[in-house]
Symmetry: C2
Subunit: 329 residues, 2 copies
């Protein structure tokens, strides 16, 4: 097999985050489930935004955050996702390219504006997200270049892609292209409500198409409709070559070719905002996998990358993760 | 005289900040004078932005930052400044209203996009700014409602308004309206290069029209073309009813009706980013003046507000300044 040009090619909903630190009352008042991601339409987004305080904007999107983490670790990456040719789209495009990730997807020149995610950060550092998908619904199979997919060791996909119907087609095309080229496919289950929406289909993916699975404990339990984490681990064991299951401060459990390893969470100062924790965990793990590390070691790099993400407001790394990992090992 | 509805009405260039933490080499490579504000055209802004790393966006603008500080202190405020009806303009409008500041200015529906300021934050916490004025050049005297100006105890203007020609007319109209209503006028000198551009005119303003002057030491020295701070203080003494002159970590000197008071700088943890320090100093000072405090006491509130601004990335307060001031006094 030809040496891969990219360590990871990621496909996801291209989103600009609007971050606001608020309190639990705000979530209650708006009927939002803490820690979840809710899809909202343009009008609902306007209403919620109007009720929010002064915010800061930064590029986001689950897989895009992971790609930022991978770049910061020194990996070569390519990102596929759809923005519009508007100001938020320009910001997204600038940011992902500025961190050294290839971004070949042409912006939409008509249709809804660039996707926004209203991220509500509560004093317990939890984040609750409301996403207006906007232009990211315009992502389609035509945006997936099979040659680029074939040029990546791992193609990394987010479960969120099953929300916009044509993005799902792009997902499936990329998955097939990766396997046809003898490459591996990684999937993040994204969100427990997302898992509930597409449970049967995600199970089929896990059983037949996914080589590396990322999920937090809630998503893993939702996938198998079980009430405790051990049952989810047991259900997953042997069903997928590699699974990395995160449990916030309790660390993560890595299943790899029949072996189970529990990896401790890392901590870098105060926990400010958990936005991006799972995305950066995946970044660290995929970095390890594409750089010859054993699964447990991948989990340790992943924990460190996640620890950096939660030590500040915003999902993407502020410190150079390559230096951080070198310093801690 | 009628009781004022607003404590402060502020007029300024309405700008969205694009903040990036970088190093001194970047400034050298782009020929930028550290700590200054440089005006740049759209094309130069594109070029500089393309060379910048991943950034965060937040509402800015010197007087708008001061209005955010005043609102956080509990004062009633009104802000006049021009954005376009684009995404960055919506963000600016949302943010200033979300913090409780009235914002009556209609957005431009044609012409250049909302103003952006590329803010380069170096490891010494200094900020160097490159501003593309965009839609803020469309501010004109028609945006100044004399009744609103008359309804404010103090009208606060930034020297930066002399850059866009029609904004200067808005400035002069507001100044006349304030004085005609028996109100006071405050002016920030904004930037030492701005002072150099309009030195004669600013001197005339200070001598004949300004009741409260804000300047940092470099701006004050540039105004009188002197080489040391004491000479600037001597030159200002008696020329303006109140002057508050800031000197970074060395605190500030307040001249008020013939009395000179030196106020110590405050410090709240590590200094991360000095963006907004002067703006928040002015906010604290104007809060004090409109709430019956003596000038020296105004300086102490000002120092505390500035200390909060420099303790994090971004110009606007993250903590509730009213609570902060109550806690420290």
């Amino acid at each position: 097999m030809q040496k891969a040009h990219y360590h990871v090619l990621g496909i996801g909903n291209a989103i600009v985050d609007v971050l606001w630190q608020t309190d639990d009352d705000f979530l209650v008042r708006h009927g939002l489930a803490k820690g979840s991601m809710t899809l909202i339409e343009a009008e609902a987004a306007e209403r919620l935004y109007a009720d929010m305080g002064e915010a800061i904007e930064s590029s986001g999107g689950s897989v895009a955050n992971s790609m930022a983490g991978l770049a910061s670790l020194g990996a070569r990456g390519c990102y596929v996702g759809k923005v519009r040719d508007d100001q938020l789209g320009q910001i997204f495009r600038h940011d992902i390219r500025a961190i050294g990730v290839d971004f070949p997807t042409a912006p939409a020149i008509a249709g809804p504006p660039t996707a926004r995610c209203l991220v509500l950060v509560t004093p317990d550092a939890q984040r609750t997200m409301c996403t207006y998908l906007g232009a990211s619904t315009a992502l389609g199979p035509e945006d997936v270049d099979e040659a680029l997919v074939a040029a990546a060791e791992i193609t990394y996909l987010e479960g969120y892609l099953w929300d916009p119907p044509r993005a799902k087609e792009a997902f499936l095309k990329a998955m097939r292209a990766a396997h046809a080229a003898g490459r591996r496919v990684a999937l993040s289950l994204s969100d427990r409500f997302c898992v509930k929406r597409y449970r049967e289909e995600f199970l089929e993916l896990v059983d037949n198409h996914v080589d590396i699975l990322f999920a937090n404990e809630h998503e893993a339990m939702a996938l198998f409709q079980v009430e405790d984490f051990a049952a989810a681990v047991a259900a997953l064991n042997g069903r997928v070559p590699i699974a990395a299951l995160t449990r916030s401060a309790a660390g993560s459990t890595v299943l790899s070719d029949g072996e189970t390893t529990v990896v401790a969470a890392e901590r870098l100062g105060q926990v400010i905002d958990t936005t991006g924790a799972g995305d950066l965990y995946a970044a660290g793990f995929l970095y390890g996998l594409t750089h010859g590390r054993q699964a447990a070691d991948c989990g340790r790099i992943a924990s460190l990358a996640a620890a950096e993400a939660i030590s500040h407001l915003g999902a993407r790394p502020r410190r150079n993760l390559k230096q951080l990992v070198a310093q801690f090992r």
